[in-house]
């Protein structure tokens, strides 16, 4: 039985690591990097999150999933706080989660130039690795992904945009 406050916070982190991203189930919301901090003072549990990009329609879903998971653990006095700074970035996604994305058929985010006027980086096909790919649509089934096709294996694929 865990009784210390920091021990309870650790359990919360562990439980959060089991919540999958609702749109990309091969990575967890922890790997996605939206949870910034967890505080437990013996009465109230506060989870501090940062939104992905501003207009992300999945944000409310993330919050609902976190609340449901914590209620299941018996935390009824729960507050989810949103902070905007420092901004969320896909650079926080760990390397093994990136590999899982690729196996799942989604090309992982590629960090291009910081200059908004520079051309976008080349995106490799997650199926055959080719860099001869074409952007079909900047926005795919969800706003965080673009649609590509591979000129070599001819397969279509999704690209998780870099933010």
């Amino acid at each position: 039985m865990v009784t210390t406050l920091s021990g309870i916070e650790e359990l919360v982190w562990e439980r959060l690591s089991l919540i999958p991203d609702p749109e990309i189930p091969v990575i967890s919301i922890l790997e996605l990097g939206i949870v910034r901090d967890v505080h437990y003072d013996g009465e109230m549990l506060e989870i501090i999150i940062t939104p992905t990009y501003t207009g992300c329609p999945a944000m409310n879903l993330f919050v609902a999933e976190i609340k449901a998971a914590m209620h299941d653990q018996g935390f009824d006095n729960l507050k989810v706080t949103t902070v905007y700074s420092p901004a969320w970035t896909t650079d926080l996604i760990p390397a093994d989660a990136m590999e899982r994305l690729k196996k799942y058929g989604i090309a992982p985010p590629v960090k291009g130039s910081d200059d908004p006027f520079a051309p976008p980086p080349a995106i490799h096909c997650p199926h055959c690795g080719s860099e001869h790919t074409n952007l079909v649509s900047q926005f795919g089934a969800t706003a965080c992904k673009s649609l590509y096709t591979c000129n070599d294996c001819k397969e279509p694929f999704e690209y998780f945009k870099h933010f």
Binding site: Y53, T54, G55, C56, P57, Y84, S85, P86, A87, W88, P116, F117, P120, V136, S137, Q138, F139, A143, L147, K161, H162, F163
Partner: protein, 249 residues
Amino acid sequence: MTTNQALFQYCLRLGDTNLILGHRLSEMCSRGPMLEEDIALTNFALDHIGQAEALLQYAGKLEGKGRSEDDLSYLRNVEEFENFRLVEQPNTDFAYVIARQFLVDVYQCLLYQKMQKSSDETLAGMGSRFLKESTYHLRHTSGWMERLGLGTDESKRRIQQAINDLWPYTPEMLSVRPYEKELTAQGIIPDAEEIALDWLVQVVRVLSRSGLHKPQDVVVPPPSTHSDHLVRMLAEMQYLQRTYPDARW
């Protein structure tokens, strides 16, 4: 004017611009020329409304009178809106939607790029977040500028016409408000004069790559008034909250 009051005005100007542009773009939902474009434009709308939410929330906090982002959006009159005149212009046709968006995208990319370095932590965080969104917008619209400019005679004529008609609204977008000077000197907000210079360079670069030209003979509309287009948009946008105050669902 205190620093907080000046920064409130500034956030209102940027927040209103995003709110009105986002609302204009949302009018394109189910009216895009093809499915991919429909999805793209509505995603742009979401981004801009998200940016407006963050900026207006911060504005309300700076003002200190307890007004939320919803209060600021729904319960102000047309003359209190600070948005760029450019973004309230109607979706005349696809060329106007793209031209308007392109002119704003270049501006916002430059603005947010510099805003990341603000001494104000909240603005800096918003700058780096918004920059990534605006970079995607700009890639999309500069691609369309090229395709329309280098496409058929008709597409070229119509995108050039849209640029010509919207150009007179750009000086107002690029102008520096009196309250900005002190904030810029303190490193809180970007230098608008620098942005204006860079804006012209980047816009002209894309125009010439697209076989289009920068319009001449600019007639500046009176900067202190909004168009009837905004009056009509607000009437629709604010109708529910005005008719049923505090309505929730």
